[in-house]
Subunit: 682 residues, 3 copies
C-alpha cells in the first residue's frame, strides 16, 4: 500500500520549460500524486463553449511519463470572468445585499442553474477526455466547497430555499409550526413570502436561520452530487473533494458517504502552541468521517501560509512532525498546497514544495527527506504494513453540525464556542493517551466504552434515546447545553434533556445561569470569568467556564458542586450508575452530567475517572519529558515531540526512522519515532 | 388603589389546553393585569383584509372569567410577512441603503403610508370589537416604538423628511441659514435637493443630522397619534405605549403628554453592580415624564434575558428587590415580559413567570411571593395607601434629548457620553439620600431648591434665560458643555453659555481643552485620562474626566482649580452668589459652574456643598452597612439592600413585609423593608 | 522674500459687517495671504449655469484694499447639492456598492464627465473674471484631492479604469500576464470583463488592486491637470493644490512636477509626544517633492482640530514652535485653516485664528506674536535672508507609493506599516542631527552620501540597478522587504532582491520568517513580539520587530545576528564593502542589509555606523537638556524645544527672536531660537 506524497500542481502558471524540471524534481522528492487543474477553468474554457485541453493533455502525459499519478480536478471551483460578465446573476449576494464581484475566486451562487450547467458541461468534457488516461488515480471534484461563499442571499437562492422548504415541510402550516412563527407576528401565509435570512431589524427567527444553514450545506452537496453523477457516467475512478477540517458551514456527516475517499485541507498556525492538539482533533474527524478508513491529507503548507495577519514559517522539522501526526491518525497520503510557489497572484507568499529561492533551502531538503521516509514506510506490507491499516478507539465524542449552528446563534443563554467545548473534551481524553473518534449521536455506539456528548444543543428524539440507551451498558458523559432543543429548536420542556436522558442521568435543569461577562467581573480577558468548583472528582482549585446552571438531582450522586455566588452548593458534576442507582438496570453503565466547562486539569480528572469506570486501560507514558503525542496505528507506535524540549523514549522496540533501538532514544523538538516490535526493520 | 401585577401574555404560542392552566396559575400568583396581542397582527389578519378575532375573543373572555384585567395591544408593532411581500417599499432602509427584510420584527418604515393605513385599519377593527369588553383596562399602542428601527433612510422617508423641513422652516433659505450650509458648499437651492443623512464621504452637516433625529422621533410619534386618534373615536379607556428608559432615538418629553399613563420597559443587567443606580435613574425619569403621577413598570424580566452576549440569571431576591425599587420611585404596576417562557422563537431563552421547567422552581416561588405582597400593599388605603401616592423631590436635573443627540455627534471637542454625565450627577445626589426629578430646562423650576444642568449642549434662548432666572433664588449648577450651541447648533459666540447664563455664573469660556486620548496618556483604560483638581470643595486626590476648558472668571469665586499640565491653575469649579456676589440680586440664589466631570467622590462633595447651600436637609442614614437604597413614598420608607452584604435598619417604625419592628432589623442581600410609623400594620 | 502668513478665509459664512473687522484684524496680525473660495461653488453657482460673483468681487477688493494677497481657490472641491439631484451618477460608490450621498463634502466620482465638465466651466469663469485681479497671488486648485473619496467603484469609474488598462497594457493578454491571472482562473478574455476591485469572496488579485491604486491616483491628477490647463489658458499666476503629508491614496511624486509650488496641510495631534518627529518627516517630504524649493504650509490649526475622538488644544507656544519647524525645514509660508472659527457646520469646533471667544484669548495673542516675528524674518534679505533659502542634506530615504500600496495589501508575509518602517529610519537619522531628504529610487542619487531603501517592496529593474550602482561609491542601506517584487508584483525569483542588488549586497533571502502574532507570544501589546538581536552594531539588549527572514550570505560581513528561536544565529545585519569585499569595485561604497526593523536605539546605532562610514560629519549638540530639534536653513540655525523640560543653548551667535546672545540661553518648553552668526541682527 502506498502513502501518497505530492500536492497541487499548477503548471499553467509557468512557462513550458519549467514543466520538465518539475517532473525531475518530483522524482527527486518521491512525489507520487499530483493534483492538477483545480483553478484551470478559465484556461480550459477561455470563452464560453471554446475548450482548450491540449496543454492539459501534455501535463498529464508528462506526469505519467515521470511515474506521477494524477488527482484530476474538475476545475469548477472558480468560474472564469466571462461567466459573471454574461450572467451577473451567477454572482453571490451577501446578507446585506452586496453582490460580490470577480477578481478573487469562488464567485458563484451555489444555487445558480447557469453556473451548474456550465460547470456540468466542463466536467462532462473532462471525463470524456481523461477517463481513460493512464495517469488518472482520483477525481478531485471542485475545491474546498463553500470556503468563501457558503451562503448566498440572492433571489435565485431565495427561490431554491423556498423549494427546499416545500420539500421539507410540505405545507406552510407545518413550516409555521416548526419555526414557531406564532411569536413576533412571523406567520407566513404562503411559501412565497419566505426569504433567506437577510439583514433584518433584529434577531432573526432561529429555526429560519438553522434551516438556511441546512439548505446552504445541502445546496453545496447538490453541486457535488451533480458533478459526481457526471463522472460516474463515464468513469469508475474514485472521487473525492477536499474537506477543511472543522468547517462550520458544511455538515460533513451528510457528505461523508458520498465521497470514495475522505480528504482534508488543514493549515494550523505554526506559531500557535495549541496547533498540534487542534490538528489531532481534525485528523480524528477525518478518520471518523470515513468510518475509520484511511484518508488523505490533501493540503497542508510546506512552511508559511499567506492569509493570516502574521504568517510564521514552520520551524525546522515541524512540517515533518505534523505530517506524521496525520499518518499516525489514519492518513494514507501527505499532500501539499502547492508544488511550486507561485510568482504572482494572491498566494505567491504561500510556501511551496519548490520555494521561490529554489532547492538550496531548508524547505526543499525537508521535502526530500520526508518523501524518502514515506517511500520506505509504503514499502512495508502484510503484518508490517502501515498504509491501509486502521486506528483503534474505544472512546467517542458526539459531533453534530445542527448543534454547532444553533449553539452559536445569538439570543442564546450565553456565547458558547462549540469547538472550544468539543476541543476541551478531546484534549482531556487525548491527554490520557486515548485516541478519540467522532460519532453521530444517533449512530451505532456499540463499539465504544465511553461516549461524550458535549454542548449537543439540538437533539432529535432518536438521538436522545440512543444516548440514553448507550448509558445502560456504556459510560455516557453529557455536557452542559445538551438536548435543550429538538430538531426544530423547540425547547424540551419540563427540565430540558428530554425524558429518556433525564431518566438516564437522574437530573433535570431548573435554569441556566451562565457566568457574567468578563468586563463586569473585572476579569479582563476574553473568556468568561470562572465559577469555582468543589469536589474530589475535579481536584484542588477547580473552576468552570462558559456555562453554569441550576441542576436538580432526582436520582444521581453529586460528584462536584459549584462553589461560588448564587450557584454555591448546587451540583456541577453528577453520576448515575445505571446498574445500581436506578435499581432496574442490568448493565454496568453509568451516566454523567457536567453542568459547566471545567478548566483543563479538572476536565482531565473527570475524563480519567470516567474512563477508568468504563474499564478502559490507559496506556503508559511513551516518553519522559517533552510535549509528546503517542498514537498507535496498526503495529506501529508513532511518537511525536511537539514541544520545545527534548523527550526520551520509554518504549521497547525499534524506531523505523532511525533504525535504532527505541528505549532511551532521545527525541529533539519536532522529533518523530515510529516504534515497532520487530528487531530489524528494513 | 391597585398595584398592578402581571405581564405580557401570548397565548397564541400555546395549544388551547394550556390557556386554562394559565388562568389558574395567574390566580395563584395574584396576577391582575395581562398585556395581550402585542405580536398578534399575523394571527389577527393572516392575509390582507381577512381578520380572525375568534381566538382573541376567547382569550379575553377566559381572562375576564378569571378576574384578570386586560391591557390590549393594537398589535401593530410587527407587520405580517404578507405586507413586505406585497409592498416591499414598506421595509425600512439603513443609512447605507440596505433594505431590511422579514424574519425578525418591526420591519416597517415609520413614514410608510401603506403601513400606517394597514395598521390603522387593524386598530379600527380592534376598537370596534373590544372597546366594550368588560376585561379591558388599558390600550397598549404598538410596542417599544423605534427599538430596532427608529430611523429609515428610504425614498418615502426622504419625502416625509422634506415635508417636515418645509413645515419647520417655511423656506429653503431659512433651512440654509439654520443648517449653516454656507460652509462646505452645502447650500440647497430647493427642498427637493435635501436627502436624509445617508452615508456620505465624511462628517455630515450637524444640524441636518439633528433635524433628522427630531424628524424621526416625530414620525414615530405621528404613528402613535394616529392610532390613539382611532382609539379615542371609539373608546374612552386610557392608552399607553411602553417607553424604554433612557432611549436615545425618541424624545419622550414630546410623548409624555400624549399618553394617559407612562409605562416603561427596563432590563438592567443582573450581573452589573451598577444596575441599581442606573435603574433608579430610569424610575425617576418615568415618574418625571408623567409629572409625578404613578407609572407602570410594563416590562422587566423574571430572571435572565436572552439578548446580551452573557445573560445572567437574577440572583435570588433580585427580581423582588428591583420591583420594590420601582414601587418606591412611583410605580403602581409591576409587570413582566412574559407570562409563559416561549418554547420557540427568538425569545425562548428570555425568562418567563412560568419557566420552561415549570412551577417547582425558584423563579415561580418568587413570582408567587411578590404577587402576595403586592396584593397586601394594594389593600392599604387612605392615609396608609402606597398605590396612588407621590414621591417628593426638591432636586432636579435638566434633561434634553436635543443635547443628547448633539453632544454625541462626531466632530465635537471630545467624545462625551451624555448619560454618563447625567448619571454621575444623579448618583452623586442620590448618594446623599435625595430623590431626583428630571426636568426640562425651559419648564417651571419653582418647585426645586437645586437644579443641575449638565452637558446641556443645546440650549434655546428660553432655556438659557429660565436657568439664569432660577439662579436668582435657587441654587443652579451648570456643568461643562452647556449652552454652547443654540437650537440650530450655532455657536453662542463670545464665550459660550449665552448672555444671561454668563452673567448669572460670572464666567465665560475661552477655549475647550479636553484631556488627551487614553492611549496617548498611557492610561490604558477606555476612559480619558484624568485631570488633577485642587480645592477644598473637591477633597483630597480629586480629578476631572471627559472634559476640560479654559474658564475666565469675571464675577465669581473659584472653588477648585485644575492642577495639571497647561490647565494648571485655571478654574475648574466656580460659584457666584447671586444675592451677594453680584451686588444687585435680592434672592439667596447662587450659580455654580463645573468645567469638567469630577470623579464620583469629588462630585458627591460638590453636590453636598451645593445642596446644603440650597437649604436642603439631607436625610439621615436608614441603615448601617450594605449598599442600600432608601426612598420615601407617601408615608412609607422603602429600604432595599442591593449589595452582597447584610445591612441593619436604623429607623423606627414597622416593616410592612415582615411585620417586625424596623429598628435593628437585619436586611440580607437583596432584602427589602417597607417601614411605616404605624404599630400594627395589617 | 516673504514668509507668507494667513489662512483660509470663508467670509460667506459671516454677515457683511464682519468682513470689515476681518481685514482690520488681519492687518493687526500681519496676515499677508488669504485663501478664498475653497468651498464656495454652491454660493458662486447657486443653480446650474447661474453664477453670482458679486460677493467675491467685494471680498477680493476688500482684501486688496487691506494689503492682503489672495490665494484664489477654484471652488471645485465640493459640488453643490443640485449636481447630485440632477446627476445622481456623479455621486461616488464604495467598494460595497453604497452610493454616497450629499450633506458632507467631496461627493463626486473623480472620473465623472459630468462633474469634470461642470467644474471646468466654473474654473473658466473664475479665470475670466479674476485672472487680472490685482490681489491675485496664487491659484489654489480644488482642495485636498482624494481626502475623503479617493477611490470610486461605480460603473463610470469602471469604464475609465478599463480605458486606463487598455492604455497601460495594450492587449488583454498583456494584462493577463501582468496580473498573473493564470492562477485562480482569473484569465480575462476581454477588457470588458474587468471590474474595479469591488467586494469579492476573498483576497483580490494583488496586481489588480495595485493598478486600481495607480489608476485612482491618476484620475485625481487628471482632474487637477484639466483645471490647470484652463487656468493656464488665461492666467500666468502660479498654481498649487494642497497636499496632505504622507497621504497614501495619492502618489505625490507624480504630482510634484505639475504644481508651481508645493503646499501642504498637516494636523499633528498636539497631545501626541510623537507628533514633532512625524511632522518633521512630513516637512522633509514637502521640501523633497519640490526638489528642495521652498514650499507653503497651507493649512495647520491654530489650536484644536475637531475630527479626532479627543481633540486636544495646542499647548501655549506649541503652534509657534511647530510653525518654526516648517520654516526651518524649508517652508516660505505659514497658513492656517481657518481665519475665523465657524459658528456652524461640521468644522465649528476646529479652532480659528479668530476664536469663538474673540481676541482676548491666548490663541489670538499667539497669532499676533507669530505674525510680527515672521514679518521681521521676511525683512531679512541677501546673505541674511531666510525666506527663499534652501536646506542642505547628504542623506536620503527612498520613498515609493507603489511599495506603500503593495506592502500593506493583505495576503502578505506579515502586516507591515510602511510609514512605520520609513519613520523609524527617519527618526534614527534625525536623532543624529541630520536633515533627511526623500528620493525616488530611480532618481539621481549622486548628491547623497547615504541612501536608505526600507521596505521598498516593489522595485523596477531600473530602481534595482540604480540602487546597486549607488552602492559603488555611496553607502546604501537596504531594509527588509525590498525588491521582493517587480512592478507587476511578480516575485524576483532565486532569492529576491534582484540580481544587481543581490550582487551589491552579497546576500540573498531564503525564506521570510516574521515574528508570531502578539497574542500567540503572550506579548499583550499591539506590536508584534520582538526578535532578540546580537552584535556590536546594535548594542546591548537589541531586538527586531515587524519582520524576520533567513538571510544567506555569499559575500558580506555579518554585523548582527538574530538571537532567538529558529532564527538564532542567522544574519540580521550585513555589510559588503564594495571597494574591498568584492575585490573589483573601485569606489569606497558599501551595501548594508537589515533583515528586520530594529528597536529605535539599535537603529540609531546602525544609522550612526553607516553615516560615519559614509564620511558624514555629525553636527554637535545644539543644546543641553530638553527634546530639541536643531535644523540649519541658509545661514540660520533653528532650535526648537518640543519637550516638557527646559534646554540650554550651546551654540554661538545671536538669537534673532530674542535678540540675545545664544550661548547659554535657556529655551523653555515649546521655546524657539533662530541663531545667526551676526552680532547685531535687526
Amino acid at each position: 500500500m502506498t502513502i501518497w506524497y505530492g500536492g497541487d500542481y499548477n503548471p499553467e502558471q509557468w512557462p513550458r520549460p519549467v514543466w520538465d524540471e518539475d517532473v525531475q524534481l518530483m522524482n527527486r522528492a518521491g512525489v507520487s500524486l499530483a493534483t492538477v487543474g483545480v483553478f484551470s477553468w478559465a484556461r480550459l474554457e477561455p470563452r464560453p463553449g471554446e475548450y482548450d485541453f491540449a496543454w492539459l493533455d501534455e501535463v498529464l502525459d508528462l506526469l505519467h511519463a515521470g511515474g506521477v499519478r494524477v488527482d484530476l480536478a474538475t476545475a469548477t471551483a472558480s468560474p472564469p470572468p466571462w461567466l459573471a460578465a454574461r450572467h451577473p446573476e451567477t454572482l453571490p449576494v451577501t446578507e446585506d445585499g452586496v453582490r460580490l464581484s470577480v477578481g478573487s475566486r469562488q464567485q458563484y451562487c451555489p444555487s445558480s442553474p447557469e453556473y451548474r450547467e456550465r460547470a456540468g458541461e466542463l466536467v462532462r468534457r473532462l471525463v470524456e477526455r481523461y477517463a481513460d488516461h493512464p495517469a488518472l488515480e482520483l477525481w478531485h471534484i471542485n475545491n474546498e466547497y463553500g470556503c468563501h461563499v457558503s451562503r448566498c442571499y440572492c433571489d435565485v437562492s431565495a427561490e431554491a430555499f423556498r423549494e427546499w422548504l416545500r420539500e421539507r415541510y410540505g405545507t406552510v402550516d407545518e413550516l409555521n409550526r416548526a419555526w414557531g412563527t406564532a411569536f413576533w407576528s412571523q406567520h407566513y401565509d404562503a411559501f412565497d413570502e419566505v426569504q433567506p435570512p437577510r439583514a433584518a431589524p433584529t434577531f432573526r427567527n432561529p429555526t429560519h436561520l438553522l434551516d438556511f444553514e441546512r439548505f446552504s450545506s445541502d445546496e453545496l452537496l447538490a453541486c457535488f452530487r451533480a458533478e459526481k453523477a457526471i463522472i460516474r457516467a463515464g468513469s469508475s475512478v474514485p472521487v473525492t473533494t477536499n474537506f477543511m477540517g472543522f468547517f462550520k458551514p458544511v455538515d460533513y456527516w451528510s457528505w461523508a458517504a458520498e465521497v470514495d475517499v475522505v480528504s482534508d485541507d488543514t493549515y494550523p498556525d505554526p506559531a500557535d502552541p495549541g496547533s498540534p492538539a487542534y490538528a489531532a482533533m481534525v485528523r480524528d474527524l477525518m478518520r471518523s468521517l470515513g468510518g475509520g478508513a484511511p484518508w488523505l491529507l490533501m493540503e497542508q503548507s510546506p512552511s508559511a501560509v499567506n492569509w493570516r495577519a502574521q504568517n510564521a514559517a514552520k520551524a525546522p522539522g515541524q512540517m515533518r512532525a505534523w505530517s506524521y501526526q496525520s499518518v499516525a491518525r489514519g492518513a494514507d497520503g501527505i499532500l501539499f498546497f502547492q508544488w511550486r510557489q507561485s510568482a504572482a497572484g494572491s498566494e505567491k507568499f504561500h510556501s511551496g514544495l519548490v520555494p521561490h529561492s529554489g532547492t538550496d533551502t531548508r524547505v526543499w531538503r525537508e521535502v526530500e527527506q520526508l518523501g524518502g521516509e514515506l517511500a520506505m514506510l509504503s514499502a512495508r506490507s502484510g503484518d508490517e504494513a502501515i498504509a491501509g491499516t486502521r486506528v483503534a478507539s474505544r472512546v467517542a465524542i458526539a459531533l453534530d453540525w445542527h448543534s454547532w449552528w444553533a449553539i452559536e446563534q445569538p439570543a442564546s443563554p450565553t456565547e458558547v464556542s462549540y469547538l472550544r467545548a468539543l476541543g476541551a473534551w478531546h484534549a482531556a481524553l487525548t491527554s490520557l493517551g486515548l485516541v478519540v473518534d467522532f460519532v453521530r449521536a444517533e449512530g451505532d455506539l456499540s463499539g465504544y466504552d465511553l461516549v461524550v456528548a458535549p454542548a449537543h444543543l439540538v437533539a432529535t428524539d432518536a438521538q436522545v434515546s440512543n444516548l440514553a440507551a448507550f448509558a445502560e451498558t456504556g459510560t455516557l458523559i453529557v455536557g452542559f447545553g445538551t438536548a435543550v432543543l429538538d430538531e426544530h429548536l423547540h425547547v424540551r420542556l419540563g427540565g430540558y434533556l428530554g425524558e429518556p436522558l433525564r431518566r438516564a442521568l437522574g437530573v433535570w435543569i431548573e435554569e441556566f445561569a451562565p457566568p457574567a461577562a468578563p468586563d463586569l467581573a473585572n476579569a479582563g480577558g476574553k473568556a468568561a470569568p470562572p465559577l469555582a468548583l468543589a469536589g474530589d472528582v475535579v481536584g484542588g482549585s477547580a473552576f468552570g467556564t462558559a456555562w453554569g446552571e441550576y441542576v436538580r438531582v432526582e436520582d444521581a450522586e453529586t460528584l462536584a458542586t459549584f462553589d461560588d455566588g448564587a450557584l454555591r452548593g448546587w451540583p456541577a458534576v453528577t453520576r448515575r450508575r445505571t446498574g445500581t442507582g436506578s435499581g432496574s438496570g442490568s448493565g454496568s453503565g453509568s451516566a454523567w452530567y457536567v453542568a459547566t466547562l471545567p478548566d483543563p486539569e479538572s476536565l482531565r480528572l473527570i475524563a480519567e475517572s470516567a474512563a477508568r469506570e468504563a474499564g478502559i486501560e490507559l496506556p503508559p507514558a511513551a516518553t519522559r519529558g517533552g510535549q509528546v503525542e503517542a498514537v498507535r496505528r496498526g503495529s506501529a507506535l508513532f511518537v511525536i515531540n511537539h514541544g520545545p524540549d527534548e523527550a526520551e523514549l520509554l518504549v521497547d522496540g525499534t524506531d523505523l526512522l532511525s533504525g535504532a533501538q527505541a528505549q532511551g532514544l532521545r527525541l529533539a523538538s519536532q522529533g518523530v519515532a515510529i516504534v515497532v516490535a520487530e528487531a530489524n526493520p528494513e
